[in-house]
Amino acid sequence: MTAAAATGSSTLTQVGLLAGRAVSHVLRQPAQLVFPIAFPLVLLAVNSSGLDAATRLPGFPAASYLDFALAIPFMQGALFAALNGGQDLARDIQNGFLDRLALTPMSGGALLAGQLGGALFMGIVSAVLYLVVGVLFGVGIASGVAGALVLLVLAITISFAFACFGTFVALRAGSGEAVQGFFPLFFVLLFLSSAFFPRDLIEQDWFRTVATYNPVSYMVEGIRSLVITGWDGQALAQAFGISAIAIVFFLVLSSRALRTRLLRT
């Protein structure tokens, strides 16, 4: 009989309890919910007007920059969810909540999954909202209703991958400042990708090379393909594949970091 079973609490219940705590934590702080959702939409509105002229370039893949740029808020929303999730976990480490949890029979896996619940919730809410706002402002989803559903699944998967990264940083560093310190890196990854301009139209060779090796480019292009191209198996496989690898990679690193942290206490 496991320790958890001995106390009458299944792993699923443990995950549910911790995930519920993470979600209510997000809901009780409007700033954590409103800013990460509103800021990408403001930037989308500004950039889609500012760069709409780019659609007149020969070879530009969309008739409207709003269609082209709709993928960006999904990525920014994922970044904010990762940042907030990481900071919440870092706070739990700093104020001793994690240490107290370590004294209970709760399993490490349940702890990780529960902590990621808040970020996943944020990812779902923001992805649905961005899609609805995009459609309301005239974005046509080239892959249809089924494509819109796949887009949501992909956006949530990407959000989860970034949340795993945020969790790893929080567990490894154990401080909110360290998680904040990674925020610029997230944005560098986004800006040095094909998020704002199609890769084949980027003039600077070095920038195109960086964007080609930057995994964020493929995540953006996966979402974008569903909006402006239709069904593009290669783009989707790359986006889902990279996100899945990132999830597995950072979950493994996170569970190791968690074990080390629990050993320390």
Partner: protein, 259 residues
């Protein structure tokens, strides 16, 4: 000691402290250097293809087009970062001791403004060097480039006064977003990526009346050797400077009342 001499003494002391702190603590200086550099690299490198859009008329090149934006942005955000420092001084109690010791409290704000302008010169120097290394063209004369520097310094002083007014009223670093967001929004509701005639939709309407648009067009005029909208930019900056002086004075009064 005359009032002017007292003000100068306080201003130079506060400025020296601000400059010394910035140049001996990388955590203070690095963000104000890294962010403009990053924006320059990301915009000039990633978006340069947009210059081939029909009606995009800026022969000096897209790097110079973006350098003008980054210069103004770096100057403005340098002012905001100085506001963070003022708020931190209040949180740690240093600003209160400073206000007790200073015979002229207006000199404190002038000192912070001088420190912000010196930081802006350094940051612009770094970004300018990086831009030249990356192959940026300059068609403007030395006088044009000095005018661009003067424009950036005026923006830096105005942004510092704005941020100082907030920092002295709220006296907490949590006021950071309130200092930052209005400047961020003003900057991005201007023709950042393309000239104003190519900006579409509601942003075009807002940008037409946004004073930052005139500043960007003047900055781009200086770097391309064809100064434009200089008078309207000077008038806008003079007006904004006067308003922010009143705003910062109110901030000093508020901090005095708080004790």
């Amino acid at each position: 000691m005359s009032k002017l001499a007292r003000t100068r003494s306080v201003a130079l002391s506060v400025a020296w402290r601000g400059i010394h702190n910035a140049f001996t603590n990388p955590a203070i200086l690095l963000p104000s250097v890294m962010f403009p550099l990053f924006f320059f690299v990301a915009f000039a490198g990633g978006l340069s293809g947009v210059q081939h859009t029909p009606e995009f008329n800026f022969p000096t090149g897209y790097s110079a087009f973006q350098f003008a934006f980054v210069s103004i942005q770096a100057a403005a955000f340098g002012g905001v970062f100085t506001g963070f420092s003022i708020a931190a001084d209040f949180e740690y109690g240093f600003a209160r001791r400073l206000m007790l010791a200073a015979p002229n409290r207006g000199g404190i704000v002038i000192g912070y403004v001088i420190a912000a302008m010196v930081r802006a010169v350094f940051v612009l120097g770094v970004v300018f060097t990086a831009a030249l290394i990356s192959g940026m063209n300059i068609d403007g004369s030395l006088a044009n480039m000095l005018s661009l520097l003067a424009l950036a310094l005026a923006v830096s002083a105005t942004a510092t006064l704005w941020a100082a007014g907030i920092a002295m009223r709220m006296r907490t670093m949590q006021a950071g977003p309130i200092m930052q967001m209005p400047i961020f929004i003003l900057m991005f509701l201007a023709p950042v990526y393309v000239p104003l005639p190519l900006v579409a939709g509601w942003v075009h309407d807002v940008a037409t009346f946004n004073p930052v648009t005139a500043m960007l067009e003047a900055a781009r005029g200086f770097i391309s050797g064809e100064p434009t909208k200089v008078a309207i930019t000077a008038a806008c900056l003079a007006g904004m400077f006067a308003l922010t002086v009143v705003w910062a004075r109110g901030g000093v009064r508020s901090a005095e009342r708080a004790g």
